[in-house]
């Protein structure tokens, strides 16, 4: 479904690569956690799959297509196979829940009849069937993220990419989101979720790809994640800068 072959991504030639010689493969129907500290290359990984970025070297295959050789007018076709969810929800504030989800279908030219049929279904999947007429500012963060997931899933993409979907949410709400992602996964969608929430990773016991400084340092099925103590790291960095 997604295959990286010796992929390197350099944003800025003076600093180290965001991804450095990454080779991995994610099969159809898998649920994969992409873990690692900030700056380890998780977001770059997702952006390469979306072809928001092009690999500096190496090849990225998505659904059998070499995305770097996709012509710019074919890129939208690739993205129709992908649903994407972000930490900051990215909803349209002037549209209600129904209209936010409908927007994703309208811009693909879907028929009104299909839209009116698909949206109640997907809102039920994410548990928002009663809130279709609410506006984003009337919803909690967790509910907003459910709307974003509904929007990502409504066109039935083969792959769902989630970049820190629980990053802005408290632990209880995060679990609700995970349940929704799990439901979508069980309906046959491949899910790739970038996160550094170790509690979630440890409880779900899925395949874990751990990145550090742009390299895959671990790739285990049904694994957990113990991040280095980030507080200790920050403190040691602060101390070093004081010494200087």
């Amino acid at each position: 479904m997604i295959r990286f072959e010796d992929v390197t991504k350099v944003y800025d030639t003076t600093s180290r690569p965001a991804l450095n010689g990454v080779t991995t493969e994610i099969e159809r129907g898998e649920f994969v956690f992409l873990v690692g500290p900030s700056g380890s290359g998780k977001s770059t990984f997702i952006r390469l799959v979306q072809r928001e970025e092009k690999a500096s070297s190496g090849t990225v295959y998505v659904s059998g297509r070499d995305v770097s050789r996709l012509s710019s007018w074919r890129v939208p076709h690739l993205r129709r196979d992908l649903g994407v969810v972000f930490q900051d929800f990215r909803l349209l504030p002037n549209k209600n829940v129904f209209a936010n989800v409908a927007f994703a279908m309208q811009v693909l030219g879907k028929r009104r009849g299909l839209i009116n049929q698909a949206i109640p279904e997907v809102l039920e999947t994410v548990g928002l069937q009663d809130k279709a007429r609410r506006f984003p500012h009337e919803l909690s963060g967790g509910e907003q993220q459910r709307v974003a997931i509904a929007r990502a899933a409504v066109n039935k993409p083969a792959i769902l990419l989630a970049d820190e979907p629980t990053g802005n949410l408290d632990p209880d709400t995060s679990w609700g989101i995970m349940e929704v992602l799990d439901t979508i996964h069980q309906n046959g969608t491949t899910v790739v979720m970038a996160t550094h929430d170790h509690e979630i990773v440890n409880t779900m016991r899925r395949r874990v790809i751990e990145l550090d400084a742009g390299k895959i340092v671990r790739d285990e099925p049904e694994a957990g994640y113990e991040p280095a103590d980030s507080t200790a790291q920050v403190q040691s960095r602060l101390r070093k800068s004081e010494v200087r």
Binding site: Q50, P76, H77, L78, R79, R80, V84, A104, G109, N155
Partner: protein
């Protein structure tokens, strides 16, 4: 569905960006009105050329007793000289250039002179023998004046060959300068319009970056993403063109066809119907404006 959606996106963009859109409409309006005015001037020049060139002749003035020109050193034209000139006008050689000619005697010249300057006291004191007799020649092709000039100016008894078109040429060159100025102003305004449309599209793209971001995300086509912005520029430019067309037509109708034509009834003026020929041109320029500014902008600010 798709078309209606793009249309509604376009109008929501115009609503959000109303003041910018209005300024685009006005700038296109003014610049295209300059283009239209220059067009009217050119049409008027052509019209007058056609009108006058049919009436204006080459005059071969013959020497009279009071002529001071060096070619008239021998005194007034003699009968044999006049006959020679007339024979030359009627000759095969001249037939290629001369359409017709007419002889104007001193008495006829006096009559015309007194008619034209009836309001001057001096007209009364002029006598026939002070005026030159002449051949009034109309040419097959008015541009061929030089050939005729060479053919006759060397002949004995000819004082001067004058091309009355020259008088008009100075008027036409004045009008040409005016239309060049109008075009120059129009070009400056059109450049302003292009930049303004580009800025409008950019602002519009910025104010709708959430929407376009989501559109990219879910795989909306390039057309779907960019067309509303393009359409916004096109709608504004076309509105400007419509206003400019109305303005151009109004100038042609009320200023030229009604007012100028009644002030100067003996001159040929363009009609307001002629001005309608400029309308498609103005709309075409507006479309090109919108296209150029969109090319400048969409590629940079609305990547897919």
């Amino acid at each position: 569905m798709r078309f209606a959606f793009i249309l509604s996106e376009t109008f929501s963009g115009i609503r959000r960006n109303l003041s910018m859109v209005i300024s685009v409409v006005l700038v296109t309006f003014i610049s295209l009105t300059f283009v239209g005015s220059a067009g009217l001037l050119q049409m008027q020049i052509n019209q007058m050329k056609g009108y006058w060139y049919d009436r204006v002749e080459v005059a071969i003035f013959l020497c009279n007793d009071t002529s001071t020109a060096s070619s008239c050193a021998g005194g007034g034209v003699t009968d044999s000289q006049r006959d020679a000139i007339e024979a030359q006008l009627a000759s095969e050689q001249a037939a290629a250039y001369v359409e017709s000619y007419e002889y104007e005697s001193q008495e006829q010249a006096l009559e015309l002179f007194q008619q034209q300057y009836a309001n001057l006291d001096m007209a009364e004191s002029v006598t026939a023998d002070q005026l030159p007799e002449s051949f009034r020649v109309s040419l097959v092709d008015p541009e061929q004046y030089e050939v005729v000039n060479e053919m006759f100016s060397g002949m004995a008894g000819v004082e001067v060959v004058s091309d009355q078109r020259e008088l008009l040429e100075s008027l036409f060159s004045l009008m040409n300068i005016a239309s060049v100025i109008a075009i120059a102003l129009a070009i400056i305004m059109l450049i302003t319009a292009i930049l303004l449309i580009a800025t409008t599209i950019r602002l519009s793209a910025f104010s709708r970056r959430r929407e376009t971001g989501i559109m990219r995300l879910v795989g909306a086509s390039k057309t779907m993403i960019q067309l509303p912005f393009l359409a916004e520029g096109v709608v504004a430019a076309l509105l400007g063109a419509a206003l400019a067309s109305i303005a151009t037509w109004t100038i042609a109708k009320f200023f030229i066809a009604d007012w100028l034509a009644s002030e100067y009834p003996q001159t040929g003026f363009i009609t307001s119907t002629d001005a309608l020929w400029l309308v498609p041109l103005l709309f075409l320029i507006a479309l090109v404006l919108a296209a150029v500014s969109s090319m400048l902008t969409l590629r940079r600010y609305l990547k897919v």
